[in-house]
Amino acid sequence: MPASLWPSWAEMLRFLPEIILTVAGTLIMMLEPVLGSRSRRGLGQFALAGLSAALAAAVVADGSPGPAFSNMLVVDGFATFFRVLVLAVGILTVCSSYPYLNREGASSGEYWALLLFSITGQCVMASANELIMVFIGIEISSISSYVLAGYLRDDKRANEAALKYFLLGSFATAFLLYGIALVYGAAKSTNLAVVRAAVEKGEAPLLLVGIAAALMFVGFAFKVSGAPFQMWAPDVYQGAPAPVSAFLSAGPKAAAFAVFLRVFMTAFQGVSDRWAPVVWISALLSMSIGNFAALRQSNLKRMLAYSSIAHAGYVLVAMAARSQSGSAAVMFYLAAYALMNMGAFAVVAHVAGKGERYVEIQDLAGLAQRQPLTAAALAVFLLSLIGVPLTGGFFGKFYIFKAALESRLIWLAVLGLLNSAVAAYYYLRILVVMYMEEPGEVTNGLGPLPLGLKAALAMPVVGLLVLGIFPSGLLDYAVKSAKFW
């Protein structure tokens, strides 16, 4: 018999960000039919306000860490880090979606509501302390993401993207769920701490735990687009509307890594030397497949999709390190990565034009002469993706490879670093087109940068430079909160 059915206020506080997001999302849908078409445009701002409030709540909730709702959730530094990250991603997504939807004439309340729901799911994932919550969080996030990917229904590619994403995503979820069921069978609990204790004491049958870990690995690898389960990413990122692609490559991915890390570093900590080689191989495959495929792309969105596979590979390198500094490196990298990828996709959204007709790399020709600031922002993002100093990307990579060496993953580090040098080539090619070629018809016909996109470019640039010059604050926080043992 539970002590009290009604949660305490502290518990409510720890769950406040999710509550705010849910309420905001529901309100948006309820307000939409009531409002006139004019004030309906304000729904985007409303979503922004909801996200900001949730962000504030997440920070406040960090002040009273602890478990909530019978250990279903736990608010710790790790959870706060990822909550803030996905909420920031959400804010950037709203900023870049707003002008985009207006341009496409597809603005509607459901978009914002689904976005908020998806982020709710990711917040739940970030703070989940229970495999059931992990599953529900992933599902909320995914279901909303599937729909967002196919939001532009008249677009064939978007439809294809959504369908592919849905089918493969459901497939992955099935694996995950099967894994969870086996964990429950083995450890008689879905609570991460209990599972961990059972695994470490050897109470759970090792074979069963191993199969469960393998199945869950498949599920998570799908969600983070790690090889060999990366096939969906290029088609989905290419087909989905650019702001949604940006969101998909940052928000759900970061949250998926958060649960991936939490589950494998707690529940499966006891068998970590068994799953480490798998992560090792997956990391190498992701980096190599992503980078070498990206070399051959001419479509900007597709190239960014392959590059995001490669970046998932770098993050997996840090996971393979299986250490506190490795986990901290994952966190730092994901934060930097979210900023740079969101920014890059925001530029794509701007240049693509109505109906996303211009998404070839060649379409950026001469952007530097027509819109120097936009080009400079994209240059910062690309340099950060390469991992050049003074940008967050450098310290992200630095911490990852530092963690890898610390755990004696020397060959993985060498191969990863060589990979990142190869990757420089395709990012530099974009810079070449943007800075060296004469403006083409696309860049000549480019309208001014809308306010929302300005914000969606300025915030990541500033963030990346701060992370690149003074990485200390964020890193210390990450190290402090990456304690799973």
Binding site: P2, R40, R41, S70, F117
Partner: protein, 162 residues
């Protein structure tokens, strides 16, 4: 009960008329529900009847009836991969047998039964859902809401636009 369910499953896959197949599946579901009931899992039995027999099967029958039946009937009953499917089924049966024999692959069914009163009782599930699992329960409703909104978005005709 088990024998009847196996029999109805066999009948379901061998009938020529899809509607007949469906009806056999229905009997299969009802028998499985009966098994659950015997094990003391009243809730599962109810869910089995309401969700599977009540909702999903009806949905299937709708689909089948909307399709062009004669054309469907004319085709051979089995695809060429049926031996594979049969093999998979047999494997599963073998696994189940192993579990029953308690060979250590998984907790034996007998051991589970010995662990005390059945936990699938209605009140036990109710207490769990509104006790420790209240949050997942609530979040699942959000999940459904999101799914419904998504379905509406995708199904709706394009809005006139602002």
């Amino acid at each position: 009960m088990a024998a009847a369910s196996v029999a109805s499953a066999l009948l379901a896959v061998t009938r020529k008329n899809p509607v007949h197949s469906m009806l056999w599946v229905l009997t299969l579901f009802l028998h499985v529900a009966g098994i659950f009931l015997l094990l003391g899992a009243e809730f599962l039995a109810a869910v089995q009847v309401i969700v599977y027999a009540g909702a999903i099967l009806i949905f299937y029958i709708f689909v089948v009836m909307l399709l062009d039946l004669p054309d469907e009937e004319a085709r051979p009953r089995f695809g060429k991969h049926w031996p594979l499917a049969a093999a998979v089924g047999l494997c599963f049966a073998a696994l189940a047998w192993l579990v029953r024999a308690g060979t250590g692959v998984a907790p034996a069914a007998t051991r589970l039964a010995a662990e005390g009163p059945p936990r699938g009782g209605l009140s036990a599930i109710g207490m769990a859902l509104f006790g420790p699992f209240a949050l997942p329960f609530e979040m699942a409703s959000l999940l459904l809401l999101a799914a419904i909104v998504g379905a509406v978005v995708l199904a709706r005709r394009r809005a006139a636009g602002p």
